[in-house]
Amino acid sequence: MTDAAIAAINAPIVFRVLILSAVCWPLVLAAASAGLHFYRLVYGAPSVLLWNRPWFGALWMSAPIPALAAAFAGGDPVVMDWLLMGGIWTTEGMRGILLVFMAVLWTAAGVHAHGYMAQKEAGKGRAGNAAPRRLFRFAALWQASMAGCFLLVVAADIPGFYLGYALMTFSAWMLVIHDGTDAARRGGFAYIVMAVIGEGMILAGFLWGAGIAETILLAEMRDGMSGSGFVLPVSALLWAGFGIKAGIAGLHVWLPMAHPVAPAPASAVLSGAMIKAGMIGWMYTLPIGLAALPALGGVAVSVGLAGAFGAAVYGSMQRNPKVVLAYSSVSQMGMITALFGIGLLDAGLWPALSPVLLLFAVHHGLNKGALFLGTAVTDRPASIPAGVKWIGLLLPAASLAGVFGSGLTVKWAVKSVLYDGGYLLFSFLLTLAAIGTSLLMIRALVLQHRDQRAAHNKITEPAAARVVAGWLACVIAALFLPWWMGMTEPIAAIPPIKELPGIVWPAAAGAAIFLAVSRGIRSAGVLRNAAREEVPRLPEGDLWALYAGVAGRIARAAEKPAAYFEHGLDRINRFGQRASAFAAKLLPMLNRWEPFFRVWAGVLMVLAAGMLLFVLAAFS
């Protein structure tokens, strides 16, 4: 960006303050929470009571408010030369929509988390010390990852974006392992291993892309690399790197292991907001619409469809509702990945496709968030009528399955764009995948229903009002998404009546399959029923065991060449030591010769002079 262009940008001071505090306010709160956490360690003073004080609750819930305000205020990009290599933050274009989405989801999940964590930690029966310490640690990491989410949305410069992405990734790692159970540790391990590999690929892609485009700005990198000969490898690195976060098939293994083990509100933001960071990465960095990348597009479409179908089948055989929901995320992200693949194949379709994808992503984010928040509502006896509860649980599920609310809009929009582009077969495949979605949704709700009775026997304290409020807020926000977000322009919000059967039938088909299969299993015999516990469990994280095995094998295979290399270095080292030992031996030898030299010095000199003369004479 030229100096003149930067000088021309002069965002109003109010917006400057808003966008800065969108990122900094959660960070300030994170620092304060960390301070309380450590204060607690040393002096033991703040207690759970502090957490439940109204003013603390208000501060806690205020974290995403500046982001919300900044997104609605809008303004020119804000330039900060001093930040990293020059920061530019903006809410223009899709960034504004994404920021609203992120802020709404984090607000709802935050209200929920405030009640949920207090109940969870206080009720654990831990020593009175541990609960507040863990609460404030959770608070610090929660707010830090929130700040990361907001930063990655608003940053238009690569270092700022990468900073937000990394802040979110690493803080969320600690949210995943918060519970400290074995499953949490396993999930956290899978999470961090894959995240680091992803960070490596993203870093490589950024360095390469920004290096050839000679810029620090995301948009300029897209333009610059689309014209270069390296557009394919750079795009592939970025696609795969962000794809790990987005849970593309094959690289998704961490997701079903990590998302379910986090506390419910953390699962909601992991599956709702953070998974979208991967897709946001694609949108900001890949040269979609600028250059056609048929090879990558083909891979994306196949991998996406494989994920959409595979996760649906594997996920519906899981027994933990949160794991089923995580697999549903993989399945949904598979559809989004496949749609991205279409964009990569067909640059001409991208202008029509991108707003639809954005809507799809936001729709999935809020509904999946609502579903994960809902798992906490069935864990405890609810403080609301059962009818309201189950309608609230059903709505986002129905929406994801495409029969209600924002789901209808998204399905219709995707269908019409694909129809206009002539991708009829692909559209049909997505429709088939939607059958899988409804299967997963039904399975998750049934499991929740099954589990709640057992849970209520253990826990009698009803869910806190904040838990229910946060969850309901998310449900409502998700339901009316296309309207309040002002995204109705490019797409008709409600499909025409005559199109409805074509959109709704997969959900019906899914319900029919579910009924048939569960009936079938039940009638297969009392025997099977009795031995149900012995039916082998399909491990969450499916391919993870395979990858771990392969990695172990590679590590063992590498041991031998490494040993050879080490051996070679040792020899060089020993040679050096022998050389110096030899030099040390030389000295006494010289001592022995010393008397000889003293006696014969004169003769030696005469001899040497004679030889020198002889040589000179011979050659002159």
Partner: protein, 499 residues
């Protein structure tokens, strides 16, 4: 005023050179006097160096020169690159002195230690201000000799063995360096740093000689810079007390080697001559091997300081890699990383020293629960570790950014996977530490707990790592501000060394 300017570099050297004999003569018990002399010298030196940095910025030149024999001059001169190194060393020296005072509290032979400590810093500053190879080698060897007593300070069998190894390596390296310098003198005559245009002019026909000289010099300097396969002394030298490790790894020794390589490439040969003779490619390959090798070896180390030592092997080679990338951004990366690596690595060694001194923890496996017992140290450690991995906003990311984009600009695309792999490996050997610190369980007693200080440990041990951690994050977060390491490196790269 001009006289003053020519005496400035000498004055900077003399602050610590004069402090050394005073400290040697003090008795062990004169704790206060010694502390006062130590800190006074360090503060005066830092102020003087800051004045010189400002002076260089305003275009003042500082040079002191006299002939030793005909054709060989002794030159002390402060140029932009020199004050970059001098600024880093004098800042970190001040902090390391404070740390060492706290660390050695009550242990024997402190006068000896701090005497050699001062000599060591004198030589480092001499290296920074050396104006030609002759002067450089003089101080370079002085550095070897003055650090030996520090490495063997504890006097144990292991320390003495490490010291022997250190001398074997560094003195052999010194021989190569001298041989290279003499050969260069024979080939090209008297050269002072910055005469690369002259060397470029007479290089035609002398390429084989110049290539041989180049590799002699690099091999000589590569020993201190711990380039594979010359790195063997560094991991074993970690038996030295923590402040000495900090000194070896961040302030003086390893840095002196890397700084020398920067001098040879930019000031003796010049960027374009080294590039056109194909020397940079070899250097780049060598540094990449070192980067990957060091990280891979660090993975399997169970002792914290040993893991950090192999990490240094890897990280210091970023400097050489930056230098060997024929692109201004590569130069920026190399020069800035000279400072960046120092800030991050000294933080890590300070923290490792705190764990060892306060709790008796030396091994990775013992770290569980330290985050609760020593939160401030642990935060500093975590910040520096993430910086090393290359996670923004700490300075490690800034280095990687310039290295990678420079490599892409110079069409050395193969460097980028090396950087990515190194980041992943860095994460693989640092994150387990971070994980244990914050989430590891502790059921038993600490191995050797000492109750020192009002906070988690004594103030002298606690605040230096906090300061360096703040610098490592701040210098990255605010890299766009004037006088940040990157700002200064950019200035040097574009205004001084660009052909």
């Amino acid at each position: 005023m001009a006289v003053m300017h020519s005496w400035m570099p000498v004055l900077v050297l003399f602050t610590s050179l004069l402090a050394a004999p005073v400290i040697f003569l003090l008795s062990e018990e004169q704790h206060r006097v010694r502390t006062a002399v130590n800190l006074g010298a360090a503060v005066i030196k830092l102020v003087l160096v800051c004045v010189m940095i400002a002076g260089i910025y305003l275009g003042i030149s500082y040079e002191m020169r006299f002939p030793v024999v005909k054709g060989v001059d002794f030159i002390l001169r402060a140029d932009a690159l020199g004050v970059l190194f001098a600024g880093l060393s004098s800042l970190l020296w001040l902090l390391t002195t404070i740390y060492a005072i706290g660390y050695l509290e009550g242990s024997p032979n402190r006068s000896r230690f701090f005497g050699f400590f001062s000599l060591c810093v004198t030589s480092t500053l001499g290296i920074a201000y050396a104006g030609n190879l002759f002067t450089f080698i003089l101080f370079y060897e002085l550095l070897t000799l003055s650090t030996y007593p520090l490495v063997v300070h504890r006097g144990t069998q292991k320390a003495l063995a490490a010291g022997r190894r250190y001398l074997q390596y560094t003195l052999s390296g010194g021989v190569l360096l001298v041989a290279g310098a003499v050969m260069l003198h024979a080939v090209a005559g008297e050269l002072s740093f910055g005469d690369w245009r002259y060397l470029e002019g007479i290089a035609a026909g002398k390429e084989p000689w110049l290539t041989a000289v180049f590799f002699l010099l690099i091999a000589g300097l590569g020993v201190k810079a711990a380039m594979v396969p010359l790195h063997g002394w560094l991991p074993s030298a970690m038996v030295a007390p923590a402040p000495v490790s900090a000194l070896l790894h961040a302030v003086a020794v390893v840095k002196a080697g890397a700084f020398g390589i920067v001098r040879v490439v930019y000031d003796v040969y010049g960027m374009s001559l080294s590039f056109s003779m194909g020397l940079l490619d070899v250097l780049a390959v060598m540094s990449c091997i070192t980067i990957v090798y060091g990280s891979a070896r660090a993975l399997s180390q169970t002792e914290i300081k040993r893991r950090l030592a192999f990490s240094t092997v890897s990280q210091v080679s970023y400097i050489m890699l930056g230098v060997s990338i024929f692109h201004p951004l590569g130069a920026v990366a190399g020069l800035a990383h000279l400072v960046h690596q120092g800030l991050m690595k000294i933080t890590l060694f300070f923290c490792a020293g705190n764990y060892a001194e306060t709790l008796g923890i030396h091994f990775v496996g013992e770290l569980g629960g330290t985050g609760r017992r020593m939160p401030i140290t642990s935060i500093a450690f975590t910040a520096a570790a993430f910086g090393m991995i290359g996670v923004p906003p700490a300075v490690g990311f800034i280095s990687k950014w310039y290295l990678g984009t420079g490599a892409a600009g110079a069409a050395m695309y193969w460097v980028i996977p090396v950087l990515a792999a190194s980041s992943v490996l860095n994460a693989a050997y640092f994150l387990p530490l971070v994980y244990r610190i914050w989430f590891g369980a502790r059921d038993e007693e600490w191995p050797h707990e000492q109750d020192i200080g009002r906070l988690e440990t004594s103030a002298a041990l606690l605040w230096p790592p906090v300061a360096t951690a703040v610098f490592s994050v701040g210098a990255g977060l605010l890299a766009g501000l004037p006088f940040s390491p990157v700002f200064w490196a950019t200035r040097i790269a574009y205004e001084v060394y660009l052909p």
